[in-house]
Every structure is written in C-alpha cells, then in structure tokens.
Symmetry: C2
Subunit: 368 residues, 2 copies
C-alpha cells in the first residue's frame, strides 16, 4: 500500500515549470546560455572530447577522453526485420522498429546497466546505416570494431572511412545532441523506466517521441532556408523580406535559451577550425552574422539568437546525410542521454504517475 495521494496542485498545461524529477546529468541554463554535462561545459567537451568519452561520462560520471565505443553488431533476426521494411519507411519508424526488435533478441533484466546502455547506443547507428543502404538497394556493411562510433556509422553508411574533418564535425554534433535535460523524449524514457520496464522499451518510446516535429524539429526547413540564402550578400535581402512577410526564421530562437545556444556556439567553433569546410558549413558561418544583425535591428525586443538546429543542418548536410535522416541522426546522438536517464531513474526509482483533471460528463445511465 502506498500513502494517500498528495493534494492536487493548480493545473499547469504541458507540465510547464513543473519539476518532474532530479538529475545529475546536465544543467541547461537558458538565461545565461550555458549547458554542462556533469558539470563540464559543452564547449570544452566538444573541444577536447569525443562522443564515446561523453557517453561514458554521462553513464558513469567518469571522464576518460580515450574511451572506446564502436558501433555494434546487428543480430540476424533484426537484419531480417530491417529487410522486411518497405523502402518507403520513414527513417524514424525504421529506427524505432529496429531497436524494438533488437530488444526482443536481448536479455535486458532490471535494473538497466551501463553495459545495456552501451549495447543499445552502439547498436542503433549500425541499424540506421543498414536501413539507409537497404532502401537504396545496397547491402549493409558490417561494423568495424576498431572505429569509434561516429566514424563507424559513416563507414557503414557509405562504405568508406570518412575524412577526419567530416568525422570530427559529426562527432561534435553527436556530443551536443547527447543530452538536454527533461525534453519530451528523455522524460518519456524515464516514465517507461519508472515502471521497471527495460532499457530497449525506454529507447523505443523515446524515438517515437522524438519523431514528433515539435520535438525532433523540421530539419529540411533549415536546409531549404540555407539553400535560399546563397551568400552573405543575398542573405540580407532574403532575411529582410522574410521578416517583413512575418515568416519565422528557422534556426533562430529557442524555447529554453534566451542567450546564444551554447551548442550552436560549440558547433560553429568546430566548423571555424576546419581546414576544409563543407560548403554548407562555410555558407552557414557567412550568413549567420548577417541574420543576427538584421534580427537585432528589426526586432530588438526579441531574444532571437542562433539555436543548435542552425548548425546541425549544415553539419549533417556536410557529411552527406539525406535530410530525411536528420531526426534519426539526432536520435542516435541522444541515445547516450536517454540511457543515462534510464540508469539514473532506476537508481532511485519511483513510478511516475501524475493525476488528471476530469472535465467530462457527469455520471449517467446508459440510453435505454
């Protein structure tokens, strides 16, 4: 028996401002534009770390910059599942189904473990790469356990080891995407875990949550916008016209960040340091300052700064990902955070079960 429920509080739609848990994993400080994972600044982690090191940090709390995390094998049954999916399958549906089938082939006893977190985080890039090849009529490529996760993913996607700059840019994207507090997908993963369900169920639910455009975004729109703003010169006219029409600019403004999104800053820094930038990144850097200047001039009252999507899109285009794979790539990066939250939830578990206001019909008899 549990204690009687606490007295209900005022209803806050969308649980806005309602504290639903505690975490040691990340601090999102929207006012100051700061993001830390276990206390370490996101810019430092991107500058000196790698996705495997960051995932390990989130799971264990330990900083080991040389931590090794390759992509994982695809069980034969899961490969059969991937081959069965229609080639028109949406990538998020394919990833969700692949992880669900993977979970069906694994023993994943409660409580979730770091090994389980590693296993699903390393499985999913292989699954997404296999799906992308299969739908293009190509055979999947086996993981190379000597490669780190992001390099391995690109190798399995293209059949070639990526150049250092390409791998570095995508690794930086994976680091900034790894964790971000109680967003909707992470919160879902914690609710699933709170019932003592398994880590695959948590990740599957999180993928399905991130599939929604209010969470996973609409990355192709950022790409379209960058395509239209061809250079710094034409960008200025384009931005002024868009704002005059009342259009929303993609890649600027954020629900949480009032200041410059520290993830965008970290990605720009990596981009600026690259010897041979992909064209998309080159253009994004050129255009950004123009957009910010026009925004500040036309809307000084709004705190519209660059957000992470602005740099995510050119990074993902730059490494050759099709735009319809962007949300799935975002999901791959967030595996570290989802699974770290599953571990954290399980370590001090309590069923997450809110109350609901009934606003329906009074009690009544069925019609005769």
């Amino acid at each position: 028996m549990t204690d009687p429920p606490a007295a209900p509080r005022p209803y806050s739609p969308g649980l806005e401002g309602v504290i639903a848990g505690e975490t040691s994993l990340s601090l999102v400080d929207g006012e100051r534009g700061r993001l830390t994972y276990r206390g370490y600044r996101i810019g430092d982690l991107v500058a000196r770390g790698s996705y495997p090191a960051v995932a390990n940090l989130l799971w264990t709390g330990d900083w080991d910059p040389t931590h090794h995390l390759p992509t994982g094998p695809i069980p034969a049954q899961v490969m059969t599942v991937l081959r069965a999916l229609p080639e028109t399958t949406k990538p998020m549906d394919a990833l969700r189904t692949a992880v669900s089938a993977w979970g069906a082939t694994q023993e994943l006893p409660w409580p979730p473990t770091i090994e389980q977190a590693r296993a699903v985080t390393s499985f999913s890039p292989s699954a997404l790469a296999a799906f992308a090849r299969l739908r293009a009529g190509q055979e999947p490529i086996d993981p190379d356990p000597s490669l780190e996760l992001v390099e391995g993913f690109l190798y399995q996607l293209t059949g070639q080891r990526p150049d250092i700059g390409t791998a570095r840019a995508l690794d930086a994207y994976f680091i900034v995407g790894a964790e971000h507090g109680f967003n909707a997908s992470t919160f879902t993963a914690r609710v699933v875990t709170s019932t003592r369900s398994d880590i695959a169920s948590a990740v599957v639910a999180a993928i399905g949550t991130m599939k929604g455009p209010l969470h996973g975004g609409a990355p192709s729109e950022v790409v379209d916008q960058l395509s239209q703003m061809e250079s710094a010169e034409s960008a200025e006219a384009w931005v002024r016209e868009a704002l005059d029409r009342g259009d929303r600019l993609m890649g600027f403004g954020h629900r949480v960040y009032r200041a410059y999104d520290p993830r965008a800053a970290a990605l720009r820094t990596v981009a600026e340091g690259m010897e041979h930038k992909p064209d998309w990144l080159e253009r994004a850097i050129e255009v950004e300052d123009v957009v910010l200047r026009v925004l500040a001039e036309k809307h000084p009252e709004r705190a519209l700064k660059t957000n992470v999507e602005y740099y995510a899109a050119p990074v993902l285009m730059g490494v050759g990902l099709a735009p319809d794979l962007f949300p799935a790539a975002f999901s791959l990066s967030r595996h570290a955070g989802w699974t770290a939250h599953a571990l954290e939830q399980a370590a001090d578990n309590r069923l997450i079960r809110p109350s609901v206001n009934y606003i329906g019909s009074a009690e009544r008899d069925l019609p005769a």
Copy 2:
C-alpha cells in the same frame, strides 16, 4: 517564441498528485470505488455493452451498443517481422515490435484520427495471436471480419470459435481494461502525441511502459496464489498463514481504489452469471469472500479490497491464455484508451515538457 516558463513549484516525486492534463474519457473515483467512461458506470458498460461499443464510445463519445469492430489484417511485411522474432521473445516485446513495424507500413498523418485508432486497435489482437501461434510452431490464422474483436482474437489464437461464455468473459475483461485515466502507459502515449508524433509511436511507447511490472503487474503471481488456494476451506488456512508470514496477497489492495475495485465487481458479476464457469473463475469466487473476511479480521485498519487483477487472472486462465500472455492481453484491451487519449491530446495539443531539478556537480573544468 513561447512565454517565459512559470515559476517552478515544489518537487513531487513521481508527479504524485500533480495534474498533468485534462480528460473527458474516464473518471476514476478511488474513494467511492467508482469508474465511469464518458459518464457511464463501468458495471453498466460491462452488463450491456461490448468491447467494440466501449472502444467506439471512448473514441467518439457516442453510445452504439451494436458497433462492429473486427480484428484487422496483418500486412505481409509485418508477418515477416513476426516470423523473424525468436520463439523465446517475450510477448510484450513481440507486440511492441509488431505495432512498430505496422506503423512503418502505414500513412499516419497528424492529427491522429478515429480511423487510425480503429486500425491499430484492430491490428494488435491479430498480431498477438499470430505471435502466440508462431512460437508454438503453428501457422497464423487470418482474421474473420464477421467476428467481433475479442471473439476474433480467440479464434485466431486457437483456430476455433470460442463458446459464448468464454468470449463474454474475455470481452468483459477487455471492457474493464480499456481505460483508466493517467496511468503511466496512457500518460506516455499523451507525451508522445504531444510532440505531434503519430498514433503508432504512441501505442508502441505505451506497450513498452506497460511492460514494466510496476504497471503491467505480475499476473503469474495471482495464478500461483489461486493454484495454492485450492478451495474455500483450504483458502482460509492459506490466507492466515500468508498474513502471519507478512506476505503480500496478490489481487487485493490498489494504489487508487480504497473501496472495492469496480472493475473486479463487474468481472465477478459476469462470472456469477455464467452457466458453465471455467474452474478458475469458480474457485476465485469461492475463495474471495474467505480472503476478504480474514483480511478484515486481521487488518481492520487497512482498506484492502479485491482489485481487478484478482479476477483478471482467472478470466484469462479460463479462456486458455498462457500466463506470460496476460500483460499483452491487458495491453490489447488498453488500446482503446491509449488511442482515445491520443485523439484527446491532439484535439487540444500542447507539448508536455516538464522541468527537472539539477542536483549534480557545479560547473568545473575538464581534468588537464
């Protein structure tokens, strides 16, 4: 841009007592032991309705006792997925994967529709029946669109049309399992939907949530207990010994209901009205009064009344379901509620994204 977040409120672990949304679908009144769907008492719905009528009521608000809802077809790609799963796959993993693969084969545009809700609710019984046959080395059976959902499920499971009593008992179970406010799985379905993700993603996430024993229960334990309490006579001694040992009795007491669980009452009424009761139901009825009498005598301070699991187990055993299929059968019944909540969430949508208390390390430099 959204408004600045509201001021944080005191932290309530597990969101206990926190109102996370509004609903017109059901009212759970734990103090008085009452449950209504759209205002209609659960006992009346079981006495005069059917699962198709109740599902339609939840989706549309309209009461049509003759509403027709058969089981649905399994797309060829999904059958390939089911055949690929190892025969040792846990039924909840199989159902989660089947619904995910089904979603991958469907167009499910936002917002979710009643047709989408019907489609996934009618698909899943066929998928679970096919899985149960495949793991037993039997071929799946095509749906018979002339049968109502519960009868069709039993037909696809066994190859035979069930007798009226068996179908009636399971239909009653499906009605009482159809909806129950903001339990963890339903809440998950609403969080997923709130991102504008699709109805299959919502149901997949809900199945993964219900897989957890804190939500989906441990039905085999109720079966074990009933096996040990062989008759009303031996039950009394068994219960007294169990309570003296401090053991928890399965099927008695509930997180929400202080009074007799109205779902258990409805199932008992159906059982009592059956001409030829399955042995399991006969025994459950005999034993229940003994247990309640001993509980009231030994623990008058506790409000331990019969809960729905006490009657769910003998109903499911009575229709010949293997105990490891019970949580999946529970999930089939809850499809109506999950999908009705997806429709309700979408109709007045707002992203569900709570806040979190950061309790981790202060900002720090990476080790040199």
